[in-house]
Amino acid sequence: MLAKRIIPCLDVTAGRVVKGVHFVELRDAGDPVEIARRYDEQGADELTFLDITASSDDRGILFRIIEQVAEQVFIPLTVGGGVRQVEDVRNLLNAGADKVSINTSAVLNPQLVADAAGRYGSQCIVVAIDAKQVQPGRWEVFTHGGRKATGLDVVEWAKKMQALGAGEILLTSMDRDGSKIGYDLQLTRAVTDALEIPLIASGGAGTLQNLVDGVKLGGADAVLAASIFHYGEFTIQQAKQYMAQQGIEVRI
């Protein structure tokens, strides 16, 4: 059967991998190419790179990182951050990305998702959604790295992105991001049940049980995590072995 995926996420700024809490307080975690290689050896199912500053100076550095990783690592690579037009999608694919993730620009210009999927195929378009709970059972889409409220309902937005051609949704709970207390399972479940396309749960993984819960209780098709892998608490293998023991189909 199809395996649930474990996807380490590398937040990159100025050529380094960093990790923050609630989208701020960044801490250095190392060299992206080295880290990517290590996760590949440990059996990561995919890798996600998010350019979290996406300033023009950093852009060239990011391209070189992606090129180097793509030459050495033969698993799918997703790259996001600062994707504003179809040309940005093309440039990232040309640098070696297999999928491109679109976040803020999908809200500012939803047609970008349709255009990019029409041109390069849904399989390479991931729409990233930053979600914040606004009342029990209701979550709102935030943009600009979590700074701007949009008034959009997360479940409705995810369905709209699917309709426009997104191949996958990367759903981050801003309330949980960096907290290490586990994914927002209610949010994850609400969105995945509304979708035909796969959902990646993100934001809050701090233990291996959190990964299991993301899949079993949240209903996620893949789980994304950063902190628990970056600082050597757990390897990807350990995560997979634990998930397998809990009856989850994984690639070991």
């Binding site: 199809l2 195929g121 390479c124 396309i197």
Partner: protein, 211 residues
Amino acid sequence: MVDIAIIDYGMGNLRSVHHALRTIAPTASIVVTDDPQEVEQAARVVFPGQGAMPDCIRELEARGLRAAVLHAARTKPFLGICIGLQMLFEHSEEGDIPGLAILPGKVVRFASNLCDAQNNKLKVPHMGWNQVQHGNHPLWEGIDQNARFYFVHSYYVCPQDAQFVQATSCYPQPFVCAVARDNLFAVQFHPEKSQGAGLRLLKNFVNWVPV
């Protein structure tokens, strides 16, 4: 002389395929090309494909590559990948269009209400690492039964003739994920993104001498 030509008809990213082939065949001359003549002169041909099949067929025609693909598929070691497998068949439900009709059969979509044994909804596209049950074609040499490969697709092939089937996978029902006939081999998954098992399959292709 070019050892391997990767056919480029403007659909998607061929860089991954190129990197992977260069890694397993460092001394081979490999080109990514949209030139029909270069395809005809190459010793081996890789025919990838991403996106929607109607777009792929249209772009292939627009670049005058149809004849070169048909010729290569009849005459030399030929590896189709993903839409490059689907296009070999007679008809696709995607856009309700004819394919290249190199193999008899059709391409159909996964049903939208699939569930696994625990009654969890199965998403479409079928995306991620799935196990492959394979035959004993030389391209499977050194690859374990039930090895996992990376898939991403919403449509799958239904060959009319079971003798051409070289592998299946399950989602949740078995579907065909590799076919072979004479000098031709084609897979639904992405060997270039399937780590060790994928690289091994590409290496087997590069060393393959069809009988």
